[in-house]
Every structure is written in C-alpha cells, then in structure tokens.
C-alpha cells in the first residue's frame, strides 16, 4: 500500500491546482487570485521544506522520495513561490486569465516535483510532458504580443520533437534491458553503456532534458520563448524549469555510473558548443530577456561540465549550480519585471539610471550579473568552482580553460547591462521605481543569499553533497 505521507507535498500542490481551478470558474478578480497564489505557494514551500527528510518508495517503486528529490522539490517550489512574488504586477497577462495563469504555473510545478522523484521511464516521460505543456501554453499568455502564438508554437514544436526523440531513446533502452526502473537499470547500464544500441538509446533519451535545459542543439526556442512570454513566465522557465531539468539529468547520467567514455565525449561536445553558442549569441542581444535566454544556454553548458564528470563533486556541483542559477536568474528577472513598464519587453538601455530609480534593485542586479559571470564573491563563483574542480579531478584542464574563456566573453555583455544600470543617463527624467517594502526585503534576501553563497557556501555545499551521495549504486 502506498505510503501517502511521503506524497504529501504533491497532494498539497494538487489541491492547490484544484483551488486555482475553481478560481478559474469564478469571476476574474486578479487581487484575489494573487493572494491565493501567494498563500498557497508559501504554504507549499514550507511544506516541502518540512518534508525534506522523508525517504521511501511510492507507487510500486516508480516514485522515489529521498533527500535528493525532496531538496529539489523545495527548490522547484521556491522557484514557484518567487515567481508568484513577481506577480503583484501581472500586467503582461490578460486580467481574465490570471487564475488560469496560476493554475498552469502550479500544474507545471507539480509536474516538476513529480519529475524530481521519478525513477521510472514512464513517470519521467509523463511528468516531463505535463510540465512542458503548461509552459507551452503559458508562453502564449502574453497580452497583445505582436508575434502572437508563433513563439509559443516554436517552443512547442521543439519541445515535442525533443520529447519524441527522448521517448524513442527510452524505447531503445527499455528494449535493451527489459526494465524501465531506474534502480534496475542502474545495475545493468554501466556494463553495457558502450554497446551501440544502448549508447544510442541513452543519447537520444537525454535530448528531452537537454531541451528543458536549453543545451546547444536544443536551444533555439529559448530566445523566442523568453522574449514572447510574460516576464513572470520567463522567470519561471529560467528558474524552476531549469532546476527540474538539472535534477532529472543528473539522475539519468548517474545511471551510467560514469562508465561511458563516448557518452562523456558527447556531453563534452554539447557542453562546449552550448557555452560558446550561448555566449556569442548573447553578445549581440539588445533585449534583456533575449540576452538572459542566451545566457541560460551558456549556463546549461557550464552545468553540463559538472554532470559529465560523473563524480560526486560534479553532481554536487551541478546541483549547486542549479541552485545558484535559480537565485541569480530570478534576481535578474525581478529587475526586469520592476523596470518594465506595464509588462512590456525592455531593451538593455531601458535600465538606464536604475541606480537612482531603485538602488536596491541595482545592487541586486549587479551581484546577480557578477554571479552569472561566475565572479567571486557571489554564489555563481562557488558553483563554477565546484564544477571546475570536478572537471579537474577528471583531468579536463582544457575544458575548464575553454569554460573560463567563455566566462570572459559572457562578461562583455553582462557588463553592458551593468553599464546601462549604473552609467548611462536616462533620456528623460527617470521615473522612480516604486519598490514596496516586502519587495525590498525580497531583493535584500537575494543579495544576502548571493553573497553568502559566494563567501560561506559551506552548508549549501554539504547539502548538495549529501543529496547526490545517494545517486551512486
């Protein structure tokens, strides 16, 4: 009999989905929807954090609850919560659709939570799809966007194609081993990973996660979708969705037990290509959200470094990287949401004079951008240190050097944003950005978190290490 206690956070989220569903059926009242979303997401966050110690198998072994999954659930939930925090001014979305917006967001969160715990190919596939579908639709929620549904459709086509490829890979893996349980696969895969069929199956099955993470050949949706989506949705895609992708990707690679040399080479290639392509493309961007999208692509490359090392530090590094990415990307989007007028897209120049209009935000942006560039003393540096150390332990000096070159390239455009925020004088009299007290506290919390993660990451790293310890057979 299923131990339902282990499943409580998911059940809670499901109930939250139900609440939003009923709100959808009622008359649209954005204020009420926002309040409900805040309360429910905060409650869920508390609940997931409280259940972080749970362990066990649910649903005949297809659903594994352990520290790894629970912490990831907490992370995903914080992504959701933070995104909801940005929704006070949800002017990018039609008023009548606010409750649906939260519904889909919540649904996507639920699916990602399921994803974090999935240890069966079927559950992985289903939860991945559910989370993606919600996002496809959310991307189209933007009010009055001139390109309409096209970016959403593009996102959809890429997502569906890569998940189909992934599914085919799953089929090959299942066909080779006769089991779809990760626990059973883990015992058998390392020995046979170099068989052509198994190898092909694995590479194909990773594509779905690469898509979520926006790794190089699967990244073309990112700029369009980020640009077209409401800011909050972009923030959600950049934070929670990435974290979930990292969670499952690490689980999948851990299944190979670090035995596949060819696999490692594929991953290295993707990692390098992803970093380089993302950074070079980002340099040409004027729109902040596009820029952040390409930087996401680049960061996917860095995360991959940690994952491809397939050692304890690499996994811990990837996990830590996910955490840091969430904080930093969220901070950037926080600024974008606040700086954007009425939910419009903004160019980099629109940040002009930010240091006067909202000093706290400007400081947060500064740290977030430095963090994204991987400079100390921010959390982004610690994350890079971890993945690079892991790569060095595998003897991949040159990979680290390439990555560091990319860091310098990325710095070019991050500094461009920073210059706009701190240096360029705004054309007109700058309109002060009203930053409410809770929001200011949120920004301060982000600042503290980023600096603390850079200067004193001891406990976070220990947590990441403890989480990934269970991934080894």
């Amino acid at each position: 009999m299923t131990d339902w206690i282990l499943f409580i956070p998911e059940l809670y989220t499901l109930a939250a989905v139900g609440v939003f569903f009923f709100l959808c059926l009622c008359r649209a009242r954005p204020g009420r929807d926002y309040a409900a979303a805040m309360v429910l997401s905060a409650g869920g966050l508390v609940l997931t954090v409280c259940t972080a110690g749970f362990e066990g198998l649910v649903f005949e072994g297809v659903y594994q609850v352990d520290l790894y999954s629970q912490v990831f659930k907490a992370l995903i939930y914080s992504g959701f919560f933070l995104t909801v925090c940005l929704c006070a001014d949800l002017s990018g979305v039609d008023k009548a659709r606010h409750s649906e917006f939260y519904l889909l967001l919540c649904l996507s969160t639920l699916a990602m939570m399921l994803l974090a715990s999935s240890v069966h190919l079927l559950t992985i596939y289903i939860s991945l799809e559910i989370s993606s579908y919600s996002l496809y639709v959310l991307v189209y929620f933007r009010r009055g966007y001139p390109k309409g549904a096209e970016p959403a459709f593009q996102y959809f086509v890429f997502g569906a194609a890569s998940s189909a490829v992934m599914l085919f890979g799953f089929a090959l893996v299942y066909g080779a081993f006769g089991t779809a349980h990760m626990a059973e696969l883990m015992g058998q895969v390392p020995a046979r990973i170099n068989e052509p069929l198994v190898f092909t199956g694995f590479v194909l099955s990773l594509s779905g996660f690469f898509f979520k993470l926006a790794v190089f050949p699967f990244h073309f949706w990112a700029p369009e979708a980020y640009e077209a989506a409401p800011h909050q949705v972009s923030a959600y895609i950049a934070t929670a969705s990435k974290v979930a992708a990292i969670a499952i990707l690490v689980r999948m690679i851990a299944m190979t037990g670090g035995q596949g040399d060819r696999m490692a080479w594929v991953l290295i290639f993707l990692s390098v290509a992803s970093m380089t392509a993302g950074n070079l493309a980002a340099m040409a961007q004027k729109d902040i959200k596009r820029l952040l999208a390409f930087s996401s692509v680049a960061h996917a490359g860095y995360v991959m470094i940690g994952i491809l090392c397939a050692n304890a530090m690499g996994y811990a590094g990837a996990v830590f990287y996910g955490l840091s990415l969430m904080v930093m990307k969220f901070t950037c989007f926080m600024v974008v949401v606040k700086a954007a007028d009425g939910g419009r897209n903004i160019k980099t120049d629109a940040l002009a004079g930010l240091h006067q209009r909202a000093p706290v935000l400007a400081l947060a942006l500064l740290l977030a951008l430095f963090g994204l560039a991987g400079l100390p003393p921010t959390i982004g540096f610690t994350a890079k240190l971890l993945v690079f150390k892991a790569a060095m332990d595998q003897g991949l000096l040159w990979l680290v050097i390439i990555a560091m070159f990319n860091v310098v390239i990325s710095l070019y455009y991050y500094l461009g944003v920073l210059k706009a925020a701190y240096f360029i004088a705004p054309a007109a009299q700058p309109r002060a950005i009203a930053v409410s007290l809770p929001f200011r506290l949120l920004a301060l919390a982000m600042i503290v978190f980023m600096v603390a993660g850079g200067l004193y990451p001891r406990y976070m790293m220990a947590l990441a290490g403890a989480m990934t310890a269970g991934l080894f057979p």
Binding site: H355, F370, A373, L375, P376, P377, F381, K384, L385, L386, F388, K389, M392, D393, L397, V400, I401, M404, F405, V407, V408, L411, Y412, L415, L418, K419, Y422, F423, G454, L455, Y456, P457, R458, M461, A462, G465
Partner: protein, 515 residues
Amino acid sequence: MQMHAAQFPFLSTILLICIFGLALVLVLPKNSNAAVKWVSAACSAATLALSVFLFAAYDRGAGGMQFVERLDWIPSMGISYLNGIDGFAAPMLLLTGIVFFTGVVSMWELDFRVKEFFALFILLVIGVYGMFMALDLFFIFVWFDVSLLPMYLLIVIWGSSAREYGAMKLTLYLLFGSAMILPGIIYLAAVSGLETFSLPALVENASFSGFEQKTAFLLFYIGFGILAGVWPFHSWSPTGHVAAPTAVSMLHAGVLMKIGAFGILRVGMFLCPEGWMYWSPMMAVLAVIGIVYGVMVGLRQTDLKFVIGYSSVSHMGIVGLGFATMTVDGINGAVFQMFAHGVMTALFFSAVGHIYDRTHTREIGELGGLSAVMPAASGYFVIAALAGIGVPCLASFWAELLVFIAAFRVYPALAMISVGVLVVNALFMLRVVRNTCFGPLNDRWAHLKDMRFAMGMPRAVLAAAIVGFGLMPFLMYDLIQTASVPLIHSLGQAVGFAGPESVETLFTELMSVWP
C-alpha cells in the same frame, strides 16, 4: 615555510575595519557627502596605522609567516580562511595602506555620486588587502576578483576620457587573466590529490610533476601577468589609467599592478618552482621588451597620464626582470621596486590629477611654468618624476640597482639593453618636467592657486615615503630578505637549483656601510 601563531588577528582587523567602513558608508543617508568622506578617511587612516604597525612589528629575526590566522571555511573542499604575512606581503600591506589613505584624501573634492564612489573604492581596497594577506588559494582568487570588479564601475562612472572603452578593455583583460588563474588554482589543487587549497600546505606536502608545474606556472604567469602589465598583455594599462579618476589611477597603478606581480610571486613561484625556472628566460625577455616598449611608446606621448601609464609598463618590466633572475638580489629588488613604484606612481597620478583638476588639460604642450603659480603641486610632480628616473636617495633607485645587479649576472645582454633604454627615459622625463613645471608660463594658468595644505597632505605622505625609504632602504631590505632567502633556498632543495647562488651579495655589503 615557517608559520607563527598569532596573538591577535591583526590582519582580519584590517579587513573588518574596511568592511565596517563600507557598511557605514552604505547606510549613511544619500546626501551626506562630508560624512562619507570622513568615514572613509577614518577607515583608511586606521588601516594605514595598522599596516605601519604590522610593518614595524614583523619579527625580522624569526622570518616566515607571521600573524597567521586560520579558520575552517569549507572543509569538504579543504578550503580554509588562512591569512598571514611574510617579508613580501608586509611591504605590500604598507603600500596599500599608504595609497588607500592618500587616495581617499586626494578625492576630497569629489561631489558626484560620492557615496557610491567611496563604497566601491573601499570594496576595491578590501580586495587588495585580502589578496596580499591571504594564504589560501581560494581566497587569493576571491580577493583578486573582488579587487577587480569595482574597477569597471569606478572608471565608467567617474572616469575621464574614453572611459567606456578604457573600462571595458581593462575589465575584460583583467578578467581574462582571472580566467587563467582559476583553472590554474583548481588544477594544482586537483592534481595534488590533497583536497586542500591551503598554499603553505601545498608547498609543504604536494609534489607536482614538472609538466604540471610548467602548465600551472604558465597559467599563473599569464593570468597575474596581465594585471602586472607584462608586455604583450599590457595594453589595458595605459588606457585604463588615463580613463580612471585620480584616486583610482593611484590605487590602480600603485597597488593593483602589484597584485599581479605579487600573485606571480606568491602563487606561481612558491608553488611551481620548476615552472618558474623553466619559464624564467621567457619572463626575462618579455620583461625587457616591456621595459623597452614602455619607454619607446612613452616617448611619443603628449598626455601626461599616458606618459605615466607607459612608464608604469616599463617599471613593472623591471619587476618582471627581477623575478626572472631567480636570485635573492633580483627578488629583493623586484619586491622593493613594487613598493617603490607603487608609491611613486601614486604620487605621480596624484600630482597630475591635481594639475588636471585645475587646468583641465593633461597635454604637455599646453602646460608650462606651473612651478611659478603652483610651487607645491609642481614640487610633488618633480619628486615623482625624479623617483621614476631612479635618482639616488630615492626609493626606486635601490630597487632598480638591485635588479640590475642581479640581471647583469644572469642576463647580461638584456640588462645592458634595459639600462640603456632607462637612460633615454630619464632624459625624456626631465624634458617633460621642464615643459610642464618650468619654462615660460602659459597665461591661461596665471590665475591658478596653489594647493592648500590639507590637499597637499597626501602627496606629502607619499613623498615622505619615497624619500624615507630612499634614505633608509635597509628598513625595507631587511624585511624582504627574510622571505627571499628562504624562497631561493627552498628552490635549491626543490629542483636542484644551481644558478647564481649569491646569498651574500654585494648589496648586503653596501647596505652595511650606507648608514
């Protein structure tokens, strides 16, 4: 490397004072410019006092690492908060203290976004202090980057000509450097297999293969060398200096470039002696090219700041040449030169900055006869110029002397070239001094007033340091000696070094008769 336990965490106190000052500046209300300046000045004075104290209190007889502090930071990766100073670091701390204090004071007339300026400035100094005292590779890198980051904003917001270009170029260059250092650090930590980032622990316990040392040293040399203005990577330096505001130029040329050299010394030479030996001829060649190049390009400049900027390149070349000799003398000279050049350049930029503030030009051709209206200001300028030339009885004379003594033994031809070029440079500098301070007075400047005493004070401190250490070089020399001799000794043990073994040098004898 010996280590002595500390009684009181003096080093962390310096950092804490700065951090406290930074926090205070940040929480002060927006328009309290005077308060911000006073807080910064107090903070800088306190750290200056502490660094003077450390400089004096360093036990020259015992040597080794003193004032060591240690705190486990990230045990899982073997990272600890480990501070300590030796004979190399103590002069650098003193230098930082001096330049910090004088920099704050020379920006006293700033009235544009004051709070932000001083906040960033203090942040920069925190990084510099931290870098000089850190003994853990992780923290070395962290402080290194902390000191680089505010630079971009400092130049972009408060800079002068071509500031955007200059700032972007500078930042990208320097971060490119840090992009070489980080892999190097992690590489060494990984191949050592010791799970530690502690520099002393690595020096003691790790045995790196020749290849590893060569690779890592190259990474460090390029990475830190960019900041040190080593020749092919120097080009950020003149543009950056020119673009930066006065205090930043001072700190930058005075201290930051030393961070680069210090990094090569601390990380590269301590950890990879074999790599050092392998690459030393290249270092020497590049250093000499730097010297020659700096001088030659400097000759063609008409902007005073460019003149100083390029002379910095050549002066840092002297440091590099000193390192490349692999002798006690050479290292003594190089470290001494780091100190001397820091103080001298700071004075130079400070004086030029003052002149620029008044005249709004730095073109040599437009200036002239300033000594008539601004005797004090041009006096400092002249002192700085003379120090730059290496006139005896000024600090840099001893430094250059030491380096060239060592260089003549190891690389006679290169030393010959550099000395020749420096003579040319001296003539040129004298001409610059004449064109700016003496000769016919340009009527446009006739109404200018000389600097007040309070404004002159920082320059006075710097000038005093130049002259003081020029007259009493042994104060510095004894200190550096405590670190350089063990380093060369350990080099002998580590790689079977059989180069010029002159521990008892000509200069030591010279020193004994000097006072």
